[in-house]
Amino acid sequence: MSNTSITEIVNKNLQTRYKKEARFRRYGQLSIFIAVTFLFIFFTSIISKGYSAFYQAEIFLKIELQQEFIDPDNTNDLEEIRYGDFDGIINESLYSLFPEITKRSDKRELRDLMSSGASIKIQQLVLEDLSLIGKTINIWLPLDDEVDMLIKGNIDVNLPEQSRRISDLQISSIETLQTQGLIKNKFNKTLFVSGDSRESEQAGILGALVGSALMLTITFLIAFPLGVSAAIYLEEFAPKNRFIDFIEVNINNLAAVPSIIYGLLGLAVFINYAGMPRSAPLVGGLVLALMTFPVIIIAARASLQSVPPSIRDAALGVGASKMQSIFDHILPLALPGILTGSIIGMARALGESAPLIMIGMVAFVVDIPTSPLDSSAALPVQVYLWADSPERGFAEKTSAAIMVLLMFLLLMNSLAIWLRNKYEIKW
């Protein structure tokens, strides 16, 4: 074949080759575009639905802390004062703003504007400082979640009165208060400092956040050392035989077992057999540790394998024992990879709800857990619980909880990247 014809053949092929390349590049761009679009839709939907949960309608009231409501017998006893009629005080203050409302049923509608959290707030103030009794204070107090929804525009006022949960009288009173500047949207501190509640305006994410943090700590403390030791043994010490092959296959299988099955295992072993408390972060942490353990083994083995053999040779060559070569040279080089893999495994565990439901963490828990043995909620389960609640106020709370969960995940992933960069040894 002459040279010219080879040139012709190559020239002809060249066109199709370049076309293939361009096509492949476009496929790649398209898939990234699709991924980014969905991510964008996801975030906009969550943020647009959830941002309003970060503020909450409050009312500015002038409250007279009258002795006869709080402590009629003048006992000065904290226990007595705790049961004082703080609702009554707030109602008096509210009625005084609307002297024209006199009917009992109308007054009740007016009372219903207030959140039950309002009287608790006053109660707390008084219990902290008894000298306030008899004085008058000006204070912002939370309104009921229906009022909050109305102010945020989530209630259609054009519906007939019977079809909405807020009456015409209530709407007109709110409008009056708004024009007087007595109702304002305030930052919703409650969301970050309290536990769950049946009332959406008093529900907070802190209980679930603390529960999740406790669980992840336990998961890490158990799964990381166990997983890394197992990986080191399998990679560096284990003999190559059928039995070890069998173990390896099973570890890989364990990583793929559906999480709910780990939940059932936890229920049977930790709660029914070992008698650990239900709904406790301890049990949740143990279950998630079981789940994360194989993931850490796989990640750790992969990074141990990626350490160049020349480093092993070098260490053994100067007379390091196997143990020394692993702990002085191989492990430090593998550590960034191990940490990244582990944190990604932990992030998966953080988002897991199915196994936690199996061990009772789906319970309604108001208190913020102080130890791993307390009953507790967890972030993903809290999302599930709130999404399941019928009150309108919980819809935005659900999105807010998702945002908090995502922030937590983002923090963990940033930590993974930071650790990788910090410990990565440049060659």
Binding site: D313, L316, G317, V318, G319, L333, W427
Partner: protein, 271 residues
């Protein structure tokens, strides 16, 4: 055809004994990888104050043989070694000498420079530290300096002992690896093609260094460069397909090889 030149009861030609003090002696050494025999009945002595060059075509078992001498083959699961290898009086495969002790006395320099990803100082200090050779910080500092000095690297790095060893040039890294090997005061230094990844100037420096080092150590070096073998070694051993064909004084091997295979290899017809 070539293989026909080696029959079953083939005996290595030349002189396998050294005229210097014997440091290592290898008797009837066979190495197997699984069912494959990689080395066939090797007999050779390594003497103090000399450089023994191992030459031969790729895959002939030179590196395998080198790794037998400090038992680095142990890390390969399928590898089996039979025969006797003595370091002075002790049989290194019989358990008379611990493998960690053996590797402290038989140092190694590898083909690709492989400093630890640590500082220059830590690279050299690691061996003495794990063996507990030095008792004080000052002693260790001195040992590091002396080792770097002997490796001809001290002048180039003395201002930056605590910078990463991996940031050095290839030739400097290889001299760092030599410093690391001599810091634990071995009897023998094994070198597996120490210059094959280096440029000619770095190679020349390493060769000069080997010339100096041989006064105090026994050096066994694998090389693919005939000229390098001729320049630095006193004795040379020619391997072919797992057999040790011929051992002799370097001069004799290059000028008057006894075996046909050696002659072919030296003159560039094989390998």
């Amino acid at each position: 055809m070539v293989i026909d030149m080696i029959n079953d009861d083939f005996k290595t030609l030349g002189n396998t004994e050294t005229s210097n003090k014997v440091v290592m002696s290898v008797k009837n050494c066979n190495v197997f990888y699984g069912d494959n025999q990689a080395l066939n009945d090797i007999n050779i002595e390594v003497g103090r104050s000399e450089v023994l060059a191992l030459i031969g075509p790729s895959g002939c078992g030179k590196s395998t043989f080198l790794r037998c001498l400090n038992r680095l083959n142990d890390t390969i699961d399928s590898c089996r070694v039979s025969g006797k290898i003595h370091l002075e009086e002790e049989d290194i495969y019989s358990g008379e000498i611990d493998v960690v002790m053996l590797r402290a006395r038989v140092g190694m320099v590898f083909q690709k420079p492989n400093p630890f990803p640590k500082s220059i100082y830590d690279n050299v200090a690691y061996g003495p530290k794990i063996h507990g050779i030095t008792t004080s910080k000052e002693e260790l500092d001195e040992l590091v300096e002396v080792s770097l000095e002997k490796a001809g690297l001290l002048d180039e790095v003395k201002d930056r002992l605590h910078t990463p060893g991996t940031a050095l040039s290839g030739g400097q890294q290889q001299r760092l690896c030599i410093a690391r090997a001599i810091a634990i005061k071995p009897d023998v230094i094994l070198m597996d093609e120490p210059c094959s990844a280096l440029d000619p100037i770095a190679t020349e420096k390493i060769e000069d260094l080997i010339n100096e080092l041989k006064e105090n150590y026994a050096i066994v070096m694998v090389t693919h460069s005939m000229s390098q073998a001729a320049r630095v070694s006193q004795r040379a051993a020619y391997f072919h397909l797992g057999n040790l064909i011929e051992v002799n004084d370097t001069e004799k091997i290059f000028n008057d090889p006894e075996h046909e295979l050696t002659k072919n290899y030296i003159s560039g017809r094989t390998g």
